[in-house]
Symmetry: C2
Amino acid sequence: MRATVLHSAGDVRIEDVPDARLVEPTDAVLRITSACICGSDLWRYRDTEAEAEPKRMGHEFVGIVEELGADVRTLQIGDLVVAPFAYSDGTCDLCLEGLPTSCQHGGFWGWGDIDGGQGEAVRVPFADGTLVKLPVAPDDALMASLLTLSDVMGTGHHAAVGARVAPGRVTAVIGDGAVGLCGVIAAKRLGAERIILLGRHADRTQLGREFGATDVVAERGEAAAERVLEMTGGGAHSVLECVGTSDSLGTAIAITRPGGAIGRVGVPQEDTIPGARASFMSNITISGGVAPVRSYIEELMPDVLEGRIEPGRVLDHTVDLAGVPEGYRLMDRRESIKVLVRP
Amino acid sequence: MRATVLHSAGDVRIEDVPDARLVEPTDAVLRITSACICGSDLWRYRDTEAEAEPKRMGHEFVGIVEELGADVRTLQIGDLVVAPFAYSDGTCDLCLEGLPTSCQHGGFWGWGDIDGGQGEAVRVPFADGTLVKLPVAPDDALMASLLTLSDVMGTGHHAAVGARVAPGRVTAVIGDGAVGLCGVIAAKRLGAERIILLGRHADRTQLGREFGATDVVAERGEAAAERVLEMTGGGAHSVLECVGTSDSLGTAIAITRPGGAIGRVGVPQEDTIPGARASFMSNITISGGVAPVRSYIEELMPDVLEGRIEPGRVLDHTVDLAGVPEGYRLMDRRESIKVLVRP
């Protein structure tokens, strides 16, 4: 089968790889109908340190069940399903505690011998625990939005939950990428009335306004922090950190109101969190992390199906499998917010 | 009047200082009846960088109201009152949000022209906002425990709140100083059934056991983390970080169960929080900060008055004002957990 393989920085190719096939009785094999390129794929795409070996890419996908292991109980051949960006057994203590991203037997797509999602098919470990059935056809008009439940919409929601967004709490969202924009949707959905979006790409912040951002701050760093402190009279109660750099975390701490909370979902690019003293003096809670999106799919899906949220609008370009390398280039040059792949 | 002045590392003296007196109409002047030396005083006491100028010391005290400004409404001359380690107006937005340590007009004892608490008397700004009346006499047997409401008991409680201690959540407390020991009391009070105390001073951990610790881990660093992970099958849900070093925060992150929470109350000795990636991957919430103890005094006092908690047992030495320098030496050499001062 054909799938996306990253060889080194900037060198992503569509190649023949071994066909996806059942290995364990709890597996399923899906024919992928829709997938995405993720902002977090770009971190690897831009990493100039040589990759030890080629990497299979992609962790957001919807597909049709083609094969089922003997122990899979909840799915049928032909079901259309969405996968979260991490697979999980759904039965271990941590899954039962609502944290499938820390599943004792789980993992991430494209690591080790696990297929990536930007390809024709994928073996899904723990199909019962991992997959969620979609009540629509593969070509449904809502497919782009349903596909975001695999990652960016659930990740934006996780940031909002970690930041304790609620009615009456002034909310700021750092980052105008797909996750930040979904964070705006999530904040509005949880009742935030004032949502300040920090981003400097006019096309993206415009979409953020359509999603519910009431203010846009285009400055960066200290200037951005000063502006938000001034606008809010001392900071936002809830801050969604959707970038992942140390600078961005520093801005998050600077703009959080004393006693407020940060939901961080940007993949950390450094191994320390700055501002240990400032956050201590102001009692700022730093929450969030890798989003347990599997736990959020059932909660968010009705809002997509009933048209209350439209996170699929972040998918502003569509390519076929052969177009995936161009999709990476478009996102890398910020000519696309997020690319939809139809293999 | 006589008061404690820090001149340089290890050089703390009792000296004549200007008498405490009313300055603002919202002030009170207290005659101090009991005070403490704090573990956080030791950070300054040990700081070998020369102090720019002599510092007035002490931020935990009980006293009798001797003078009242014209605008003070809630106190009478002769009242016995406890002060939290920060003064606050009680009326600004942040005070009303429950965060008096971030009071827009507040501050800390011993900074600038504000008196310290290890002396004969003290001027209290915003007496109505800051002070809480005690329903006992100055020589009451409960005085040591009531005095801990000024800092260490409230700080231990804040750590437990930040760590989301609750029945069924395995709890670990890092640090066997007065705050850590009060953290054990607070964790038990909030319903923790299993409380693992990380500390290596047998006399202190023994007191911790009497306060409710069910297990003691005397190892440090990685060995301590391995031991707690093994004992708990993957980490504690709630971790109270009561030391403040980067190493201790690293241990806290290492022993927190995925999805768990850290309540940090140790004054940060470095300006970064380590383990940004590990805490992200495990969705560990880092909460806490400088404890808003003023907000906790009314909640905790009934438990002291009715004998349900005995935090005053951490005060294992008593000195008069002349004995304060010796009190610092005792604590610095770990020959005392915490020193009570009776001026």
